[in-house]
Symmetry: C2
Subunit: 726 residues, 2 copies
């Protein structure tokens, strides 16, 4: 009896679900303090890595959520109403500052102006509420804080000067009161192997392509230890001594039964090893995924490119999960540099802004800043660049306003770590990454890092304006301008017509690498002559150390596209990504060196299967084809205006869809005809034509000789005839 009562009480304290839905519910959603769910979920996801059966957590600081949150909103009700409450945590409810008894499941709000407040304490997950009334519904218009700073004096009088910062509550898509944020799960779908081979006490199941999820063992019988050895390749699954991931189950079923692996894993092949006396009927899997639909798409006249696009899409989906992760086999961590490329791909495929902001927030964590993001200097800068692009593509000012303080403290950290010349240089504990490349020097002041800092400072200036901090805006703009000047003074080599790699002991080094030069192109930091110099002497120069990771290939090919070299890029794409396909890739890899042979392709980090065969950064054709072949990109934040500048690059035709914040731009382009339509924004279709294009009622202007700008209004379809110069 004692226990029973206490148990009931405990339940009512910690988690109240009294209602089961109501006809009044309209748009209520679970809400929480911005950034906290992301941190909590990030901790959960990033602590699932194992390496050969040993737990392998991140090596950077993991932050934690605020355990005590105050939520409120003011309502003006025409009539009284009842609202249901669902709360994750121990809570109180106040109406106009007056507490309601206990932990109510429903409250009554009288007609008129009233403030509804809830204060929630929750240690194990993020304090969250779901309020469901007629008008009194929880959504992101509610205000939240982690310190309300409201005290009373000995007479009971409340404090008269508040120092409280209120933010708008955060929400995602938790629209069912019975499915609170702490119960978040990805979706599952059963899948069968395409082939199962048995031999002795082994079963090797081949799922036909790279996949991810739980392994399901059907009709298991007998007692003993069962080993599951996962392989992205057949070789890896069969090499029980060296495969990267494995699970061991100690089983003792009472009768024939099914079981699931405890953790989700990446694999194509699963090698099940059983002990004498054990048997299994069959093996299948539950595919685990984030249910998010493609909004963008791409097709063209080249089937190999279409296949590359499809495999890129699959690679991208596999790595778009709780967050944008690096790769599904090994880390499953959120790496800022990897995620940055996913943000960009996302704008051309999913346009799923919550995935971008979840990832940015989980990466940023909380103050104080004690290291670079993921400990990597460049990865901090990619975080700022991610916000730069997020604003460009989505126009979301609220995100910047809410998180400007975290942007600022992270930039303070960077600025405090400049050396005596005011330049970024690796200090103890800083990982200066740039790329996986043999012999790449990290010594001294690297041009690449300064360039990324300059871009980050520009982002801070833009964001300061949005956050209405004009003093900061001026400061960051000045710092950016000063640094850009310094970059050219220090690294630009007139003889080499390129930025050199580094500056060591007060001297420019002779080393030229591709990194700073290619970023300088699409950051638009060069003048026209410099651009051509860089193109010739760096980008198209085989004497400069080649890039072997899809990660940096992304930027290299972007720079070439930005220089109009789509035809060259198309060939590279077919060689490089097509090269992986020819080797049987069903998703794109962490690294690909065409010079390697056979199982050499599987090795990395000194381990025979160390390489990830499904890495997000391998999916960059999604971005390149959308931005530089379909040629669609915003000209002002959130696609209020945009450019569509299709480039065939040698293809007979291309067609596709590019998502915008609330709609789509559709485009078909051949050498003689273009069809374009958009559901929002005002576009400029820019084409090169030998003669003036013909169109059904669009405004056509000649921009420069042979280049025509056609105004694309929303919700109209345009058919254009032209004579491509390509």
């Amino acid at each position: 009896m004692t226990i029973k009562y206490r148990h009931l009480f405990f339940l009512s304290m910690i988690f109240i679900f009294l209602g089961t839905g109501s006809a009044f519910a309209q748009k209520a959603t679970w809400i929480w303090y911005p950034g906290d769910f992301e941190i909590w979920l990030g901790n959960k996801m990033q602590n699932r890595r194992t390496e050969r059966g040993s737990f392998l957590p991140p090596f950077w600081k993991l932050d934690n959520h605020y355990v005590l949150i105050d939520f409120h909103k003011d309502f003006d009700l025409a009539e009284p109403e009842r609202a249901e409450l669902f709360v994750e945590g121990q809570y109180n409810v106040k109406i106009d500052g007056k507490s309601v008894f206990g932990y109510p499941g429903k409250i009554s709000i009288p007609a008129g102006k009233h403030r509804v407040s809830l204060k929630v304490f929750c240690q194990n997950s993020v304090p969250a509420i779901f309020v469901k009334g007629r008008k009194v519904n929880s959504d992101s218009s509610w205000l939240v804080t982690y310190e309300d700073k409201e005290w009373i004096d000995q007479s009971g009088k409340a404090s008269d000067q508040s120092g409280t910062n209120w933010l708008h509550a955060a929400a995602w898509d938790f629209e069912d009161p019975a499915s609170p944020p702490s119960a978040f799960k990805l979706s599952l779908k059963p899948q069968s192997p395409v082939k199962t081979e048995r031999s002795g006490r082994s079963i090797l199941a081949d799922f036909g392509k790279e996949t991810f999820g739980f392994v399901k063992l059907h009709g298991l019988k007998g007692k003993g230890i069962l080993g599951i050895y996962y392989g992205e390749s057949r070789e890896e699954a069969l090499d029980t001594a060296q495969c990267e991931t494995l699970d061991k189950l100690w089983l003792k079923p009472d009768k024939k039964a099914d079981t699931l692996s405890a953790l989700t894993r990446a694999f194509r092949f699963v090698n099940i090893q059983i002990e004498p006396g054990m048997s299994i009927d069959s093996v299948s899997m539950l595919y685990e995924y984030l249910p998010v639909a493609d909004k963008g798409g791409f097709r063209c006249s080249d089937e190999e490119i279409n296949r590359i696009y499809d495999v890129s899409k699959y690679t991208f989906h596999l790595n778009t999960r709780e967050f944008f992760i690096d790769g599904i086999k090994r880390d499953r961590w959120i790496w800022s540099g990897d995620a940055y490329q996913s943000y960009l791909m996302n704008y051309y495929l999913l346009f799923d802004s919550p995935s971008v902001t979840r990832t940015l927030l989980a990466l940023r964590g909380k103050d104080p800043v004690t290291s670079h993001i993921n400990t990597i200097m460049d990865y901090t800068f990619y975080w700022f660049m991610g916000i730069h692009d997020y604003y460009e593509y989505t126009g979301d000012k609220t995100f910047i306003r809410q998180f400007y303080p975290r942007m600022k403290s992270l930039m303070d950290y960077c600025l405090s770590r400049r050396n005596q010349d005011g330049m970024m240089e690796g200090m103890a504990g800083d990982w200066v990454f740039i790329d996986w490349a043999e012999g790449l020097s990290k010594k001294g002041e690297l041009s690449f890092e300064q360039l990324l800092l300059a871009r980050s400072l520009e982002t801070m200036a833009t964001s300061a304006a949005i956050a209405q901090e004009p003093g900061d805006e001026a400061k960051y703009a000045a710092l950016a301008a000063e640094l850009k000047k310094k970059i050219f003074d220090q690294y630009w080599n007139k003889d080499k017509q390129a930025l050199v790699h580094s500056f060591v002991n007060g001297q420019q080094t002779a080393n030229v690498t591709r990194y700073a030069n290619m970023f300088g192109i699409f950051f638009n930091y060069f003048n026209e002559a410099q651009k051509q110099g860089v193109k010739k002497n760096v980008l198209m120069n085989d004497q400069v150390q080649k890039i072997t990771t899809p990660y940096m290939r992304f930027y290299e090919l972007e720079a070439l596209c930005a220089l109009g070299e789509q035809q060259y890029v198309l060939k590279e794409m077919k060689d490089y990504w097509g090269g992986m396909l020819k080797l049987g890739a069903t998703s794109f890899w962490e690294e690909f060196d065409p010079g390697k042979k056979g199982t050499e392709h599987l090795a990395m980090y000194g381990r025979p299967y160390g390489k990830s065969l499904c890495h997000a950064w391998g999916a960059s054709p999604i971005y390149l084809l959308g931005k530089y072949f379909l040629g669609i990109k915003p000209l002002s934040p959130g696609y209020q205006t945009y450019l569509a500048e299709p480039v065939l690059g040698g293809l007979k035709w291309i067609e596709g869809t590019v998502p915008t914040p609330k709609g789509l731009v559709k485009l078909y382009c051949s050498t003689t005809a273009i069809r374009i339509s958009a559901t929002e924004g005002t576009g400029t279709l820019r084409i090169k034509s030998k003669t003036k294009p013909v169109c059904n009622g669009a405004l056509i202007k000649m921009a420069t000789q042979g280049v025509y700008d056609i105004e694309i209004l929303k919700e109209k379809e345009y058919d254009i005839k032209y004579n491509s110069v390509l």
Copy 2:
């Protein structure tokens, strides 16, 4: 089967208890990242407050623990050994950097030099480990960090420059692997009421004195709602509509049963209200307490003082719990100003350093600092003063070294909030408290706050020296000196011979209050003439607004004692604390105004039972009698040297014990004889005698005319004959 397996796996991941004790165990203990258990436990305790059945959490930011911690220690073993592992969280184990498979319950360490590392992720409670081998035991010599910043490059090579900060692990008294930190509970002891009155459907149980714990209802029968109304007074318990705490239980026992209240409460009286058809055999309680023994003690020739001392002790014990709390009925929060007095009392009764450091760490929380401690400006300064005294009494340098960064960031916060004159002045969100006192002005620059900042700066200078930060030491010492000069320039009024209360709009105000003046005395900031001026014109001057809280009475009486006014203080103590006893107090109150009558004594904050009748700050006689009557205090950190300067203050004899870090000082003193002995340190017994004292073999020096200093060596007992001048 599926569920069974996953459940087992989950268990093994989250919480492994494989061993049940071992003959090898010697001194192993649970360890964690310093400060984190305190924050976690503080959140738990401070979120238990309810007010008339509604949850009432703190209004300041609550921090959270680091969820991912790396632990390691290097061992040099003469022979190989096996160690058992107990872990709170999901973990890995490495020996010399090499992972052990899975989540092992035991590990083998070969002979020779080896590093044992564990890395633990735990969201719901603090990551903690217990390693139990022969020599490989977990204790505070292990090193811990929340970011190890160790990465590898693509070849598998580890990073060569570490930026990791390692601290020593924290421990308390969790010496049983089966009782981990997350399972922490205070102790329980059954107690019976001294009287139970029944009338209709009410039962009123009187436990005879203020107490704290769970209410137990015996032989409960019938179905319905049961109300428990708690009262520190009989009036409060009977006033079901206005009592401060109450619980309602919805009961439906199958058969006659016992039940416990869900939460611990403070009360002397419990009023149980049942519904028709319900019955209860009897009521008892489980007293909840921190099991910590008295080391100090005090007795004297005056029985009223002895009673005051005993009730102070009981009051102090009731408020010494997970932390030093303010009062047991209402807040049960950790308030820095309240806790500061508990630290001081602790040095004269329990000398329980873990209670001091737990409280300091829970109060401090983590960076970033977003408000004053408890939002109160003066409470931030009491935190620094708490460290000042902690070092004086215990000599613990490790604590200061480990937490110096948190001291520094909190001081940075204070310094960043000085006004343009460099003085502390309330800004938005700052609660300037000082004391509960009618009409006390908080406007402008208050002398009291500057004085406390000066003392805090001095503490920072001392601490910087311990933390080996000479630059900081010089900076803080200079800031302290400069501020002290400014205080006298700005607030000292020669005519009034006192520090005035405030400085408003560039003008000294005419208002003189006791606060800054009494702190100036025991901070020793005045010269002899100023002291006498302050004594006459402020402390002994009835025209200056009187103090009504035991909180500030503490400092007022301390200042008077420091001026040698023990006789006056004794009378005040008998009037004030004796006054509460005469009104039937069984513990000392939050506030006592002898001018009030009857139930007026119970009211505060505009509520009829708002006042706490058991408040830690009411227990100050423990401190005053120990420090200023027995007269024992450290002269150098940790009682390496100390002073014993007994003052009878009109009493015939006093005797008592004062604890030191590892021992005791015992003292008996009458007007003709003194007995003293100590187990550590070198003491100076200072007495005033008409003739030269006589002693068994001690070194006696005359300090000034009629004042003799006798050297007290450890582990010897001294019998002294003298002719007291008092």
